[in-house]
């Protein structure tokens, strides 16, 4: 009798030590590994896995267009990791990247506002955001962090989707890529884990009058087409922002990209400054943990 009580309390101790030592990301880690496994399997051999993953694709779609044996690190390339034709075009554009001036403009901003050095002493931080701030109980995206820094230093916040904020983020991303940084999102408290779970729930919820979830298109749907557009996998979605989109003829933040996809769902987009957007990005970014940061990048 006594023995078993002792044993139970030892077990409880072990359990709580484990939690304190950083077990708050246990569920997220499980989700992430499952996603990596799913995507690696799906794109290991699309022809072999057709019935399971691409039920409506033709043989031509699969044999001519989809890449085989996609490696973990390649998923940072979004749809270009999986679509042969898109990849060729992408590599051509990358020879004369359209975002070089933006990186320079971002560096200028970093120097012009001296306080940025205090808020962000090391500019190679793109892979560490979003962070969870235990004091405010909120997820802080890089975009939010930049605005908080501006406001704390008596400036007005910047527009969160494009313009100066995207330029500064391009500089941070380029510095991070140069330094060989990887995506490294932390979940270190119960409140942080709760925020992650809320983001995940939204990602998998059907929304808008079209009743589509993000996962319909970017998990199950990845590798299939909407019109001619190959749908990119959730894995690797956040590694390369900000992105220069040919459609935008300019640079945009993750906040801007998500707004566009909410419209794809037939939804009135949430505000880029909302907790909804921040928590969604927290979940999405965690899913890309371990991938190299390689922004800024270019997309159709």
């Amino acid at each position: 009798m006594k023995k078993s009580i002792v044993r139970a309390s030892v077990l409880m101790l072990v359990g709580s030590v484990f939690l304190v030592a950083g077990g708050y990301n246990a569920q997220a880690e499980k989700d992430r590994k499952a996603l990596v496994q799913y995507m690696e399997k799906k794109f290991s051999d699309p022809a072999k896995n057709k019935a399971m993953f691409f039920p409506y694709a033709t043989d031509e779609d699969i044999n001519k267009h989809l890449k085989k044996g996609v490696k973990f690190e390649e998923f940072r390339l979004g749809s270009y990791a999986i679509d042969k034709g898109g990849r060729d075009q992408y590599e051509e554009i990358k020879e004369m990247p359209p975002y070089e001036d933006n990186i320079d403009a971002g560096e200028e901003l970093y120097k012009k506002y001296a306080f940025f050095k205090k808020c962000f002493p090391d500019p190679a931080i793109a892979g560490e955001y979003p962070k969870f701030d235990d004091k405010s109980g909120k997820v802080v995206t890089l975009t939010r962090a930049i605005n908080q820094c501006l406001v704390a230093n008596g400036e007005k916040p910047w527009k969160m989707t494009k313009g100066k904020i995207a330029d500064l983020e391009a500089y941070f991303a380029a510095k991070s890529a140069e330094a060989g940084k990887k995506v490294n999102i932390q979940i270190n408290s119960k409140a942080a884990a709760d925020a992650y779970e809320r983001g995940k729930k939204e990602y998998y919820s059907q929304r808008g009058y079209l009743k589509l979830s993000c996962a319909n298109c970017h998990v199950q749907g990845s590798g299939n087409r909407v019109r001619r557009e190959y749908l990119s996998p959730l894995l690797g979605h956040t590694t390369h922002f900000p992105v220069y989109r040919l459609k935008w003829q300019g640079l945009g933040t993750l906040e801007r990209r998500i707004k566009g996809c909410e419209k794809n769902q037939g939804e009135n987009p949430h505000k880029p400054s909302s907790d909804w957007t921040a928590e969604m990005l927290y979940f999405m970014s965690y899913m890309s943990n371990g991938l190299p940061v390689d922004g800024p990048d270019v997309r159709r």
Binding site: F54, P55, Y56, A57, T58, D61, Y209, L210, K211, L212, N216, C217, Q220, G221, N224, R225, V226, R227, R228, E229, L231, G266
Partner: protein, 117 residues
């Protein structure tokens, strides 16, 4: 007498009905095809290729549509109105239930779907 009158009336009505359907049918099909292929309305081509019709870059998130001429109209109507009714995990949006397409528009789409072999 009363009965004959009723019968006569009924047959006049039937004739009128069937005439109006076949006269309007070509227009209805055309309207449905337009809804099918227009991004801001039905946008069905985002997900579906169609057997025997030339469509500019259709997607493949949904199956290539074929053999629909053999489907009962009601079944097609129901599919477009609310695909969850027959397939609870469908990735197809419920166009009627969510008010994206109204009753008349769905009927037009169905008329077009009925031309798909």
């Amino acid at each position: 007498m009363q009965r004959i009158k009723l019968l006569a009336m009924a047959s006049v009505l039937t004739v009128a009905l069937s005439v109006s359907v076949s006269a309007g049918n070509a227009d209805l099909v055309k309207e449905g095809e337009k809804i099918f292929n227009t991004k801001k309305i039905g946008n069905c081509l985002a997900c579906h290729a169609v057997n025997g019709k030339k469509i500019n870059n259709p997607g493949n998130l949904g199956p290539k549509l074929q053999g629909l001429s053999a489907w009962p109209e009601q079944a097609l109507y129901d599919k477009v109105y609310d695909p969850y009714a027959t397939n609870p995990i469908s990735a197809m949006p419920p166009f009627g239930k969510n008010g994206v397409l109204d009753d008349h528009q769905i009927k037009a789409v169905v008329a077009y779907l009925k031309t798909i072999n």
